[in-house]
C-alpha cells in the first residue's frame, strides 16, 4: 500500500533580497526591510514529503537513515550557517524562500532515488511557508 512520509529538518542562514536589475528605490519598494544592505537571518524548516509502496520486508516507504544522510550531505551542508547571497547557487537568482524551496526540491528530486518526491515545504518563519511540487498542483 502507498503511504506518504514527511520529515522535517532545521537550518539557519542569512540572506538579503536585492535585484541588480532594479534601482535602489525599486529594491526598497519591492523588498522593504529584506533589502537592508547587511542582510538578516532565519531559522528555516524544510519539510520533505516522499511517497511509495510500504516495503513488506521493512514496513517502510524508505529508510530514514538514507534520507537523513542524503539531506545532511546534499542540502544542510550546503545551506546551514551560510550567507545565501554569496553561494554559487544564488549567483544568478535572488535568495527568496520561493527560489530556495525550488532549489531544494530539485536537489532531492535529482539525487534521492529511494522514494518518489511529492513536495518540499519550506518554512521561513513560523508565519510563512512555501511549497513546491515540481510545478504540479498540491492537494
Amino acid at each position: 500500500m502507498k503511504a506518504h512520509l514527511s520529515r522535517r529538518y532545521l537550518f539557519s542562514a542569512s540572506h538579503r533580497l536585492h535585484s541588480d536589475a532594479m534601482t535602489d528605490a525599486e529594491n526598497q519598494a519591492t523588498y522593504g526591510k529584506c533589502n537592508n544592505p547587511f542582510g538578516h537571518g532565519h531559522n528555516y524548516i524544510i519539510e520533505v514529503t516522499l511517497s511509495g509502496p510500504v516495503d513488506e520486508q521493512t514496513g517502510m516507504v524508505c529508510n530514514l537513515t538514507d534520507l537523513d544522510s542524503f539531506m545532511e550531505r546534499e542540502v544542510l551542508a550546503r545551506y546551514d550557517h551560510e550567507n545565501l547571497n554569496v553561494l554559487k547557487e544564488f549567483a544568478q537568482e535572488i535568495p527568496t524562500t520561493e527560489n530556495l524551496c525550488i532549489q531544494i526540491y530539485e536537489i532531492v528530486h535529482r539525487g534521492f532515488t529511494h522514494a518518489h518526491l511529492e513536495k518540499v515545504r519550506l518554512e521561513e518563519t513560523m508565519m510563512n511557508s512555501f511549497e513546491y511540487a515540481g510545478g504540479e498542483a498540491i492537494h
Binding site: M1, A3, H4, S6, R8, Q57, T58, G59, L64
Partner: protein, 136 residues
C-alpha cells in the same frame, strides 16, 4: 465538500525486527530501532474526514461520535501498549509509522458512517510523520 480533522495523542513502545533477516541485517536496516526491549514515542494522530454539511445539523460529522470511534478503535488498543506484543496487527507486521497509519485507517474506515475517511496522519515525533489516504 468540507474536511474536518480531529487530533488525539497516544504513547506506546515498539521495536523493528524482521524474523526473515539475520541479526546483522536487522541491525543494519533498523539501527537502534532494533533494540528488542523496545523504546517509546508520544504519537499524535490526526484523522481527517470529508463530507457534505448536513443542512439540519450544520455538521460534516458529529465530533463526539468521531472522538468515540477514535477512542474505541485506536486509543483503547494502542495507548500505553507495547505495539509488537499487544496489538494484533503488529504480532507479525513491523510497527513502523507507515504500518501504524495503515492499521489505524483499516480500524476506522468501517466504523465511520456519515463522513468518509480522507486521511490518517501519524506523527511519531514532531519531525516525522506519515500520511495514508487508503491508496492501494
Amino acid at each position: 465538500m468540507v474536511y474536518l480533522t480531529r487530533k488525539a495523542e497516544f504513547s506506546a513502545s515498539h521495536f523493528y525486527h524482521n524474523p526473515a533477516f539475520t541479526p546483522e541485517e536487522n541491525r543494519r536496516v533498523f539501527g537502534k530501532c532494533n533494540n528488542p526491549n523496545g523504546h517509546g514515542h508520544n504519537y499524535t494522530l490526526e484523522v481527517t474526514v470529508k463530507g457534505e454539511v448536513n443542512p439540519r445539523s450544520g455538521f460534516v460529522v458529529d465530533l463526539k461520535q468521531l472522538k468515540d470511534v477514535m477512542h474505541h478503535e485506536v486509543l483503547d488498543a494502542m495507548d500505553h501498549r507495547f505495539l509488537n506484543k499487544e496489538v494484533p496487527e503488529f504480532l507479525h507486521r513491523i510497527p513502523t509509522t507507515e504500518n501504524i497509519a495503515i492499521a489505524i485507517w483499516q480500524r476506522l474506515t468501517p466504523k465511520l458512517a456519515a463522513a468518509k475517511l480522507h486521511r490518517v496522519r501519524v506523527y511519531e515525533t514532531p519531525d516525522l510523520f506519515v500520511d495514508f489516504y487508503g491508496e492501494p
